[in-house]
């Protein structure tokens, strides 16, 4: 079976090399048959890597420890679903997983466009095959998961060997979210290859217009959404498993995952400038290039150990390959851009600094500033060591100091952007659109102040969150009011209809709403409390409104781990509220300990209790309790983000409607009010109505 897997992987490499070379020759010689053959080869790679993945999974599920990789990451006692996820628990398997996910994207991109864009697709196919060749090169010759175990006899002759038991899966990865988190993140990382390939292809083929932007919009959103889910799941895993009471530590690998998401966000906004006004063509191409390069940089940081990280389990000497690949990509991108830079000339120019265009420009500037600050802080210890020879640290306080103001400015722009019109916004429109949201934000701030939000940044965050919520609400309300008065439906139905008629715009607003929820959740961390105490049975500790009474300590165990567990009763105002069971597990095979946090989560706060082990001085059990406000808002924001993104990807429902012949009062009213305009699409063939501030 190992030979089967190895063979499938080797064949996949050869086929993708063929796709790459045949694609280039096909383009140069303009032989259609050859480009079709290259495309089919590109699609066939998916099937071959699938066979290799299936083969490796077979080894995991049958507890066949003749493969070094399986022996190092599984054992008999491992539950079935963790045997499945053990595939990406180590270097070799995770690279194979990467290749497989990439091959899915490649297959879909080539298959779905097989009859479209004949001038563009050969270039896309070549770019995708080039990327795939690199990963399959690693899979086959640098980090193969199909290495068999062998032992030498007394004569020095090597014989195949099989271990009776494996080492087992890293206990930190034995958590349901770890079954989902890496695939989500990898789907993000690999997904950005598609817009990269289309951007590169459009540049090389000098493909006319903004078609590549239209083609890749949904692909980019898919990758962006998966990347966001991956980042949030990682944060949730850190919160739920690591037992330190937080969810984000600015670890280099966390930062690396965040970077392409930030540039992806910038791209999703700036493409609108190109679609609407034919502007920022160079910027967009480079945003996609940089996003893809950050994906490669991210995965190389995870694997090289060049910067110290909690993700040390994935370190190896493979980094050189990634940095080499990164260099090649940079050179290719620079060459492609330099050769075809005249193709990227803007059709239009910025008319006013108070316009939708400039808000996108600032949005991009701030997002890029955030990206730069994170990247700079992550890599600076390495740079400093190179330059000065002495090592310094750049820890979480630096990232918080630099990024909090940037993030708040971004939140401000989230509210401002949708209220500005394309081209130019009049002072009247500004006053009309901003007055109520601004008042609402200030009221939110005043209420927050009364409830104890006294720190500067959380208070500003609250004011801005209120402001953004109201701008989003007013956008929905304005559009729905027009629709309701025209169709006579109720407001809720009108909101639904409105949303479905311009899913991109209103899905985008839902994502903005999600960001507000996440920001509020993060602002809550300014009010975290925690207490750590040695507790005997019958003793208690108090945190916030809760008193935690220790009822018992016991040692439940099973064949996978031994455990130390506390039984705690939680009281509020003298009344028993719940029982909590924080636990520490010692895994038998690996000897690693893991914290099982007891977390009672509500929208107001999380009561997060950790069994922190026994005190080395007194041998008494130590309980560490945290009261973390508003954390749930972050996870809820993540769910809303996914829903918003899905909504934005749904095709618009274009109703076959006819505008009333006589100017509708409410329609006219809406226009007169200036707002950001009605969201109603113009009926085909009818004269379009000028809508100040109309936008996506």
């Amino acid at each position: 079976m190992d030979i089967f897997g190895s063979f499938a992987l080797l064949l996949a490499f050869l086929v993708t090399v063929y796709a790459f070379i045949a694609g280039i020759v096909g383009i140069l010689t303009r032989r259609t048959l050859l480009t079709k053959s290259a495309r089919n080869a590109g699609m066939a790679v998916f099937g071959l890597i699938t066979l290799a993945v299936a083969s490796l999974e077979y080894f995991f599920f049958t507890d066949d420890f003749s493969l070094a990789y399986v022996a190092a990451h599984s054992n008999h006692a491992l539950p079935l679903y963790y045997k499945f996820s053990a595939l990406w628990a180590g270097q070799e398997g995770s690279l194979l997983w990467w290749s497989w996910l990439l091959s899915i994207y490649v297959f879909l991109a080539l298959f779905l466009n097989r009859k479209r864009h004949p001038e563009l697709m050969p270039y896309v196919g070549v770019t995708l095959a080039g990327v795939q060749t690199f990963f399959l090169l690693l899979n086959n010759f640098v980090a193969s998961p199909f290495h068999v175990l062998a032992s030498a006899d007394s004569a020095g002759v090597m014989h195949l060997a099989r271990m009776s038991e494996g080492t087992g899966l890293n206990p930190l990865l034995q958590y349901p979210e770890m079954v989902i988190h890496p695939p989500m993140l990898y789907l993000g990382y690999t997904g950005f290859t598609i817009p990269f390939a289309f951007a590169m292809a459009a540049l090389l083929a000098r493909y006319p217009g903004e078609k590549w932007i239209h083609i890749t919009r949904r692909w980019t959103m898919v990758a962006w959404c998966f990347q966001g889910i991956g980042v949030l799941l990682g944060a949730h895993w850190a919160y739920a498993v690591l037992g330190w009471g937080g969810y984000w530590a600015w670890d280099p690998v966390e930062n690396a995952a965040l970077l392409p998401w930030i540039t992806g966000t910038a791209f999703l906004h700036s493409v609108m400038m190109q679609e609407k006004r034919g502007m920022m063509k160079v910027w967009n191409v480079w945003l996609v290039f940089v996003t893809f390069m950050l994906c490669i940089l991210g995965t190389s940081l995870t694997r090289t150990g060049i910067v110290s990280s909690v993700h040390a389990f994935a370190e190896s000497s493979i980094g050189g390959w990634f940095f080499g690949f990164l260099g090649i990509i940079l050179v290719v991108c620079l060459a492609a851009w330099y050769k075809n830079r005249d193709y990227l000339r803007s059709d239009n120019q910025l008319d006013s600094l108070v316009s939708r265009e400039s808000s996108f420009l600032f949005n991009n500037l701030i997002l890029l500033a955030a990206c730069f600050a994170v990247l700079w802080g992550t890599l600076f210890p390495v740079i400093s060591e190179w330059v000065t020879g002495s090592k310094i640290s750049v820890g979480p306080p630096f990232f918080n100091k630099v990024n909090v103001p940037i993030a708040l400015f971004l939140l401000f722009l989230t509210g401002v952007g949708p209220l500005l019109a394309w081209r130019k916004t009049s002072v009247d429109a500004l006053q009309r659109n901003f007055a109520w949201p601004l008042v609402g934000g200030l009221i939110a701030g005043a209420v927050g102040f009364a409830f104890g939000f006294r720190s500067f940044y959380p208070l500003v965050c609250l004011i801005l969150s209120g402001f953004v919520m109201l701008t989003i609400g007013s956008e929905f309300y304005r559009g729905a009011r027009v629709m309701r008065s025209r169709d006579g439906t109720n407001l809720l139905t009108a909101v639904g209809e409105l949303t479905m008629r311009n899913t991109r715009r209103y899905g985008g607003y839902v994502v903005h709403f999600a960001m507000v929820l996440i920001f509020v959740g993060i602002a809550g961390s300014a009010f975290n409390q925690d207490i750590q105490k040695e507790l005997k049975v019958g003793q208690s500790l108090t945190i916030g409104p809760y008193t935690i009474l220790c009822q018992n300590f016991d040692q439940p165990s099973n064949e996978n781990y031994e455990s130390d567990r506390a039984t705690l009763e939680v009281f509020r105002n003298g009344k028993s509220q719940m029982m909590l069971y924080p636990e520490r597990r010692l895994f038998r095979t690996s000897g690693v300990t893991e914290t099982i946090v007891a977390n009672e989560s509500t929208p107001v706060h999380d009561l997060y209790v950790v069994y922190a082990g026994r005190s080395p001085d007194t041998n008494l059990p130590v309980i560490h309790a945290y009261l973390n406000p508003l954390v749930k808002w972050i996870w809820f924001g993540g769910i809303v983000m996914v829903l918003g993104t899905c909504l934005a990807m749904v095709p618009d429902r274009r109703a076959a409607m006819v505008l009333r012949p006589v100017a509708d009062r409410s329609w006219g009213d809406a226009i007169a009010q200036g707002g950001s305009g009605s969201p109603l699409p113009s009926p085909a063939g009818s004269a379009p109505v000028r809508r100040p501030g109309s936008h996506d």
Binding site: Q349, L365, P381, V402, P616
Partner: protein, 176 residues
């Protein structure tokens, strides 16, 4: 009530207050030293030194590196927290405590890079880079606007049909 009585009462009050102050001072001196987790100052300070375990890239106060005997903060972070608490109890100033860690581990123990020499760059660049970008954007917009302003005077005459078409196009764009 005579002045003498009042004076005696004042004297008694003063004696009592003095005794209370002495008692409070003795209590503060003799009371058992609080542990790092119970002292807000020690807590803040332990977040101003990096955990030197080499695996978490976090501060000693917030170390999340699991696997230590004392899970949550690892053994290294725990020892550093303890040292901070001891020094706080001894009455050392914040600067003195941080300096002692720098002497022991070098500047890498500080999560905030020092604002001097080459490491100034880490602080300046995240501010300077966006400002520079902002300046470039400003310049770009200024040039565009100047070009637009100069355009019609020296440019070709636009026919009413072309202007009308352009307006229709603009309206259509706004509609989308």
């Amino acid at each position: 009530m005579t002045d003498a009585t009042t004076g005696t009462k004042h004297k008694n009050l003063a004696t009592r207050a003095g005794a209370a102050l002495l008692f409070a001072a003795m209590f503060l001196v003799l009371a058992p030293h609080s542990r790092a987790d119970d002292s807000p100052r020690a807590k803040v300070l332990s977040k101003k030194v990096m955990c030197m375990c080499g695996g978490c890239n976090d501060t000693a106060g917030t170390c999340n590196h699991t696997g230590g005997a004392f899970s949550g903060p690892c053994d290294t972070a725990k020892a550093m927290q303890k040292e901070v608490a001891q020094r706080v109890d001894r009455g050392d100033s914040d600067d003195l405590i941080l300096q002692s860690f720098v002497q022991e581990y070098g500047p890498t123990v500080l999560p905030d890079p020092p604002k001097k020499g080459f490491t100034w760059l880490v602080w300046i660049a995240p501010v300077a880079a966006p400002l520079l970008a902002l300046f470039l954007i400003w310049e770009l917009v200024r040039r565009w606007r100047r070009r637009v302003a100069l355009g019609p005077a020296g440019g070709p005459t636009i026919s009413p049909e072309l202007l009308d078409r352009a307006r229709r196009e603009a309206d259509r764009e706004s509609d989308e």
